[in-house]
């Protein structure tokens, strides 16, 4: 469909410092609560549970005691060239709005799951069953995100409703909704991270912290060489962590990727 790449004045992005993440899961809890993702009775079954944001554990593959562990939170990468958008037959997912967030409209989705197959980050999840909030749990649903139904795909939206709320708030207070100050709009995971591992902002706006962070020599993106141009960046001072971000040959070094 829309295979052409659109450039945006605002580009919401996330920088996750992996050296700061301790994998506690506060981001995952906050994400589920914020976005009305139904709880799973056995959430340790990763094939059957649905996570907009999932924390992975990485290893440097060295034996004890030289082993090192790093936790990697994986939201939707909000790719600049999203492969999911290109394959959606019904435009249920799209990247057209200022801010560059890849949208997903569940009632429009026909459940063909092409997008899931095309997403290299496994950021998309399918509702195999109707979501269930047993007992009185539905009382705690957030009013900001509609609940999904069986048979549709869903994914992280960078808490897009918070972007809309921030715009409305800016307008109500006489500010420019298209020039939000740093921190006026952050995702639920950013806010919840007790270690401040996640920084969120407009990658294009020099007044936002992320604008500088992505220029760090320690910054990298996942599977960068596929050319998906993700809007999520990671930071790590450790070379082995950066190598985990893509498939490198033994003689290749990180940071050499030419990003088109």
């Amino acid at each position: 469909m829309s295979s052409e790449v659109k450039e945006f004045k605002i580009k919401w992005g996330m920088v996750i410092d992996l050296d700061k993440c301790t994998g506690c899961g506060a981001c995952m809890v906050a994400c589920q609560a914020e976005n009305n993702v139904a709880p799973a009775v056995d959430g340790s079954n990763k094939l059957r549970s649905l996570n907009w944001l999932k924390v992975f554990r990485l290893s440097n593959h060295k034996p004890f005691p030289d082993h090192e562990t790093v936790y990697l939170p994986r939201p939707c990468m909000q790719c600049g060239k999203p492969s999911c958008v290109a394959v959606c037959p019904v435009i249920a997912t799209d990247k057209r709005e200022e801010g560059g967030i890849v949208s997903q409209i569940p009632p429009r989705c026909i459940g063909c799951r092409y997008c899931m197959a095309s997403c290299p980050y496994h950021a998309r999840y399918f509702n195999w069953y109707d979501p269930k909030w047993p007992g009185d749990l539905a009382q705690a649903l957030s009013p900001d995100v509609s609940t999904r139904m069986r048979g549709v795909v869903e994914k992280c939206s960078f808490c897009h409703h918070r972007f809309m709320s921030a715009q409305a708030k800016a307008r109500a207070n006489g500010q420019d909704p298209m020039n939000l100050p740093d921190g006026a709009y952050v995702t639920a995971c950013t806010e919840a991270c007790p270690n401040g591992a996640i920084t969120f902002g407009d990658l294009n706006n020099p007044a936002h912290k992320v604008h500088e962070l992505i220029k760090s020599p320690y910054a990298f993106r996942l599977l960068e060489r596929l050319g998906t141009d993700p809007q999520v960046y990671y930071l790590s001072k450790r070379e082995w962590v950066r190598r985990e971000g893509d498939n490198y040959l033994e003689n290749e070094k990180t940071g050499e990727a030419v990003i088109k």
């Binding site: 920088v15 410092d17 050296d19 301790t22 994998g23 506690c24 899961g25 506060a26 995952m28 809890v29 906050a30 589920q32 609560a33 009305n36 709880p39 799973a40 009775v41 056995d42 959430g43 340790s44 079954n45 990763k46 924390v55 554990r57 290893s59 034996p63 004890f64 005691p65 082993h67 090192e68 562990t69 936790y71 009632p107 429009r108 109707d130 979501p131 047993p134 007992g135 009185d136 749990l137 009382q139 705690a140 649903l141 957030s142 009013p143 609940t147 999904r148 139904m149 806010e191 919840a192 007790p194 270690n195 401040g196 591992a197 920084t199 912290k209 962070l213 760090s216 910054a219 930071l235």
Partner: protein, 690 residues
């Protein structure tokens, strides 16, 4: 009418319908049906409010904003204006709005009928039962509290003390052994830690970024000292048997055999003394002489810490301006006093006592309720000693036993005698928010309101360097028939003729705030949190080398395999079990289906002849057997198996019940030499492929 006529009639009808809007409007209305999913819950609308209060479920009493929509809590959000947490919040506190309405939440007072089933009763009946049994019990009444920071403890203890019973106990936690250690070393106030201003923190055993101390505050310090993409302003060294969550934040990880923390600290003390770091206090020469036996070679042999890392840790401490050493247990309870004594001694050597970024000697709070227990005395009273004594028949069982906000049946090893005590007690009452294992062992179960539903407070949790005081304010209506536990106990005290000097919770909290010089009105109205740097008496600390020597003589582990428990706060506490929204935080290397996952390094796996994914039968020294799934993970000390705590619940709801094994059941209680404290947490086990 003939057939032909009927057809004509039908044709006319069809034309008429086509020419009328009904069909087209109905088709058009099909648009609405893309939005009608009647079997999926609908969202509620209404004005949002963001109300600051504190969590009473998170052991560190994290401050947060409760977002309510039309009066119902839907989210708990971090509160940047909170002077303790600075906007950091734990994974458990993040799940509290959902926990409030979780299926495990108690809705009505329950009474156990003779056949063992629970029958819902009215509050009036429940209150009558409470009063009758309280009056009949006379002075034979005991109470356990699982919440060390609440002023409700004063109501409970005052009620007991005034009726002639001294049997009020706090659940075992980190502070009790630490207080014993601090007292042994000459400390007179309350032990505190100024983590915020330290430039190098060495944590031995204590998972300070996951569950130890005021973890939200600890993590906010970690956040502020580790700017994203920048150079850290604080070095963090962490010693533990497992590369757990805290280890992921450490600049240097010291892999250590479980239960050898003291040897590591004594080895560090020895190297520090050699490096000229010898803060003077009485007993130094003797201590130095004792520590001299802990040469790096010996320490490496005992603890398994590689020599180069031990050296690096000492270098980090000697190179720092304001180093701080913290010792604690992985489990958060059942820890020994010895490692804390050794840590205090190391801090003394480094000159890290009483200065910024070091150990803090804080004043103890004084009670504000008539005849209530002093907190410092509560720290010396051991619940486990009492329950073991009752179970063994050495102490007479109480006629009435109140268990408040605690789940000792799950949280304590089976040889603690909690089940026996509950069985022997004439009448047992659980006041709790969730249907726990302890509730299931009590005669009367009363639903307690959460912190966000009633007046409560958080007074300086252990691990803080500041005096902090926060109010839990009722920002939402209690769920179902839950009631404020504080009000319940105050009313009960009044019923049985105890003069507390306070008539309700707000008055109690007012008195507490007044005693601390905290701005009660602002706290009540806008959720302000009070913090103060309070200097206690300057304690005449000394190197109590005899106490250290005694503690160091504890029997070393001799089994071929050790269990190292790992606490993940996101998976809840003994009181909450796994929150519904935290089941996805449970990973495939913690739980596989209904089996706990035991992580071990490849060397251990090879010795046990298991491969990744194999079943492993673990037999503990106390004969408890459990089957787990093996997983190879190189971040575990050799000959050690890591199991996640917080699994193996038999009560609560579908999100917690029947998942994995409770690691505490594998451990047994022993007594620490010298202090005679009951200790547990590490376990000698045998394991074989199942």
């Amino acid at each position: 009418m003939d057939r032909r006529g009927f057809l004509k009639f039908a044709a006319g009808g069809t034309v008429g319908l086509v020419a009328s809007p009904i069909i087209w409007n109905t088709l058009y209305d099909a648009v609405y049906w893309t939005q009608n999913w009647g079997w999926i819950p609908r969202l509620k609308k209404g004005a949002s409010e963001y109300l600051p209060t504190v969590s009473k479920l998170c052991p560190s009493g994290t401050g947060f904003l409760v977002r309510t929509v039309a009066g119902t809590p839907v989210r708990t959000l971090s509160d940047r204006n909170n002077p303790v947490s600075h906007g950091s919040m734990t994974a458990l506190a993040a799940a509290e709005a959902e926990l409030r309405v979780s299926p495990a939440r108690l809705k009505k007072p329950l009474r156990r009928s003779p056949d063992g089933a629970y029958v819902a009763i009215s509050w009036a009946e429940a209150e009558k039962l409470l009063k009758e049994h309280m009056q009949a019990a006379g002075s034979s009444v005991a109470a356990f509290s699982g919440d060390p920071t609440t002023s409700i403890n004063e109501v409970l203890s005052a009620m007991l003390y005034q009726r002639g019973s001294a049997d009020f106990y706090l659940m075992p936690d980190e502070e009790q052994p630490a207080a014993a250690a601090w007292t042994a070393m000459g400390g007179q106030g309350r032990l505190g830690y100024d983590i915020e201003h330290s430039d190098c923190v060495l944590a031995v055993g204590a998972p300070i970024l996951e569950s130890w101390g005021v973890v939200a505050a600890n993590r906010s310090v970690f956040n502020r000292t580790h700017p994203a993409g920048g150079t850290p302003a604080q070095t963090f060294v962490y010693a533990s048997p497992v590369q757990n969550n805290t280890a992921a934040g450490a600049d240097l990880w010291l892999p250590i055999k479980p239960g050898t923390e003291m040897a590591l600290l004594l080895g560090i003390a020895h190297l520090l003394i050699k490096a000229g770091k010898s803060g003077f206090a009485a007993g130094l020469p003797n201590f130095a002489g004792f520590a001299a036996a802990y040469t790096p070679e010996k320490v490496t042999a005992i603890t398994g810490v590689p020599a180069d890392r031990l050296e690096a840790a000492v270098k980090a401490l000697t190179g720092a301006k304001k180093p701080l050493v913290i010792a604690g247990s992985a489990l958060g309870s059942g820890g020994a006093a010895g490692p804390v004594m050794a840590a205090i001694a190391v801090n003394m050597l480094l000159g890290s006592v009483g200065r910024e970024g070091g150990l803090v000697d804080m004043p103890f709070p004084s009670p504000v309720v008539n005849g209530a227990a002093e907190y410092r005395h509560l720290l010396t009273r051991s619940l486990v000693r009492y329950t073991q004594s009752v179970a063994a028949g050495k102490t007479s069982a109480p006629k009435m036993l109140i268990v408040y906000a605690a789940n000792p049946v799950y949280a304590l090893p089976s040889d603690a005698g909690v089940r026996e005590t509950l069985k022997k007690a004439g009448f047992s009452v659980a006041v709790a928010s969730f249907m726990s294992e302890t509730c299931e062992a009590c005669d009367l179960v009363l639903p307690a309101a959460l912190g966000m539903e009633a007046f409560d407070d958080v007074l300086t949790p252990y691990g803080s360097g500041l005096t902090t005081y926060a109010l839990a304010r009722p920002v939402a209506k209690p769920f179902a028939e839950a009631r404020s536990a504080g009000e319940l106990f105050i009313a009960l005290a009044q019923e049985v003729g105890v003069d507390l000097g306070v008539k309700d919770m707000p008055e109690l909290l007012y008195k507490r705030a007044y005693a601390l010089g905290a701005p009660f009105r602002a706290m009540l109205e806008s959720g302000t949190v009070h913090t103060a740097v309070e200097k206690g008496p300057v304690s005449p600390l000394f190197y109590n080398w005899e106490a250290i020597k005694a503690a160091a003589s504890a029997k070393a582990a001799d089994a071929p395999l050790q269990i190292a428990p790992v606490v993940v706060l996101g998976m809840g506490t003994a009181q909450t079990a796994i929150p519904p929204f935290a089941t996805k935080v449970v990973t495939e290397y913690q739980l596989a289906g209904k089996l706990s996952v035991a992580q071990m390094n490849a060397a251990t796996a090879a010795r046990l002849k298991v491969k990744d994914g194999d079943l492993l039968k673990i037999t503990a020294a106390n004969k408890v057997e459990t089957t787990v799934r093996a997983a190879v993970f190189e971040g575990v000390m050799t000959d050690t198996v890591s199991l996640t705590a917080g699994l193996g619940h038999t009560a609560f709801d579908q999100f917690s019940k029947g998942k994995g094994a409770n690691v505490v059941t594998l451990t047994s209680i022993s007594r620490e030499p010298g202090t005679n404290l009951p200790v547990w947490g590490n376990a000698d086990v045998n394991a074989a492929r199942a």
